[in-house]
């Protein structure tokens, strides 16, 4: 399906960009992908996202949209087939609630397990596990947050299924144990098995290498 000149400015290792790629793929929208070097951002990116100067930015026609959650909702409203958000206003509110929870609670916690050491790291670890237990309640025994197929919360949070094992490998500590988080563990497997997810994940060894360098930088700067 042609998307009248849809461009996506992204970076291969960004989970925020990956969310948007999944949304575009769910709708079968063709787009031109532009890889950004974040250490040397293009003038176009800086122009399209002058407020944050970040990826992802979706450009439709000549009009830019920034912020991954805003972009996903835009995609869902421009292309109405294969809806990402549910129809019912209350269900939509619940989906937005869990997406916000991932952003505001889980991301800082998981970042803390990665960027801190010792007691501080332990605190963030407990926080991350607690957040995943809460997120499990949102799943309510369904296969995906969207039901039988992936929906808004899966698109927004699904990257966790790929990134958490990478983080666990690098920090040498298990965060998602099957016994304590069985539903999340299963959700991880189902997400990674979903067709559009499988075909668009960044290469693992490359990601691990990059995250290792990033972690060294983070730990070094907080010394």
């Amino acid at each position: 399906m042609a998307g009248e000149g849809v461009k996506l400015f992204g970076m291969w290792a960004s989970p925020y960009v990956l969310r948007v790629i999944w949304a575009l793929k769910l709708k079968g929208i063709e787009y031109e992908y532009i890889e950004e070097d974040l250490s040397n951002k293009s003038p176009l990116l800086l122009q399209y996202n002058s407020v944050y100067k970040k990826v992802p930015v979706l450009v439709y026609g000549q009009k830019p949209v920034a912020e991954s959650l805003v972009i996903i909702e835009f995609i869902d409203e421009m292309w109405k087939h294969n809806p990402i958000l549910p129809e019912d206003p209350y269900e939509r509110a619940m989906a937005r609630f869990w997406a916000k929870f991932v952003e505001e609670k889980f991301i800082p916690a998981i970042f803390g397990t990665f960027s801190k050491l010792g007691e501080e790291q332990e605190k963030f670890m407990e926080e991350a596990k607690k957040n995943l237990r809460i997120l499990e309640e949102g799943l309510q025994g369904k296969k995906f947050f969207g039901g039988e197929t992936i929906g808004f919360v899966d698109v927004v949070g699904g990257w966790i299924a790929y990134w958490v094992p990478v983080i666990e490998e690098i920090i040498g500590i298990k965060i998602v144990e099957e016994e304590s988080l069985p539903l999340i563990n299963k959700w991880f497997k189902d997400i990674l098995d979903f067709n559009i997810v499988k075909e668009s994940l960044p290469p693992r060894d490359k990601l691990v290498a990059l995250q290792k360098v990033y972690r060294e930088m983070l730990l070094g700067s907080s010394a």
């Binding site: 920034a66 835009f74 939509r92 509110a93 937005r96 609630f97």
Partner: protein
């Protein structure tokens, strides 16, 4: 359209913003005052994840988080829309709403409730965001043009709370010479009846926030 209750607190800008949306659309609701120092079982059951106000209860079903509540109101009561109909314009409105909450009002709260270096850093962030908002509102009566809309309702808290914080904590943020367009917008917005009639009285706010500030300063000197 069913039974509607709003759990809120009198000095809460996020509660206010929900009330503005309901009043704008002429929706009837019952306001339930919450003492946030002694949270009711109803609040704790309705928002077990965050335990915060505001919470909207529609036919007993709870919706939490003010921006999510606003979107729910928009989607359930379609008359007098606050959001634009065009998907791109809607995305822009959402972008600015997110910016206001994540960068500006968060920064304002941090600046007010902190001291020393933390306060200085937060003030710098707020000034940067006000500069951006000033640019965005230039030449326009409201953020979306000639008529009041979603972003105005979301940003409205800045118009009323900032001057109080400026006075109580000497923050010098909403200075007319610095941000003339934003200052003009803020004077205009709080004169609009459905907003003017639904904000906590300024003198009450000054008393309450002076109290908070005194406690903060006392705790710091007692360390």
């Amino acid at each position: 359209m069913g039974e509607l209750k709003l759990l809120g607190a009198s000095l809460s800008p996020f509660t206010c913003r929900v009330e503005w949306a309901l009043k704008f659309k002429g929706i009837e609701y019952e306001f339930i005052y919450e003492d946030v120092t002694n949270k009711s079982p109803l609040l704790l059951n309705s928002n077990p994840v965050h335990k915060k106000i505001p919470v909207l209860l529609h036919n007993g079903k709870p919706i939490a988080e003010s921006l999510i509540i606003l979107e729910y109101i928009e989607e359930t009561w379609k008359t007098d829309p606050l959001l634009p109909q065009d998907p791109y314009e809607k995305a822009m409105a959402r972008f600015w709403a997110k910016f206001i909450d994540e960068k500006c009002s968060d920064g304002v709260r941090t600046a007010f409730f902190s001291l020393g270096e933390e306060r200085e850093k937060a003030i710098a962030v707020v000034l940067e965001t006000l500069k951006i908002l000033n640019e965005e509102i230039k030449g326009k009566k409201f953020f979306e043009g000639e008529t009041i809309g979603f972003v105005d309702v979301v940003a409205g808290l800045l118009a009323h709370w900032l001057p109080v914080f400026d006075e109580v904590a000497e923050m010098n943020l909403l200075i007319e010479e610095r941000f003339p367009s934003f200052h003009a917008w803020s004077e205009n917005i709080i004169s609009i009846p459905f907003i003017k009639e639904n904000i906590p009285p300024r003198d009450k706010m000054v008393v309450a926030f002076s109290g908070f500030r005194k406690k903060l300063l006392a705790a710091a000197t007692n360390k």
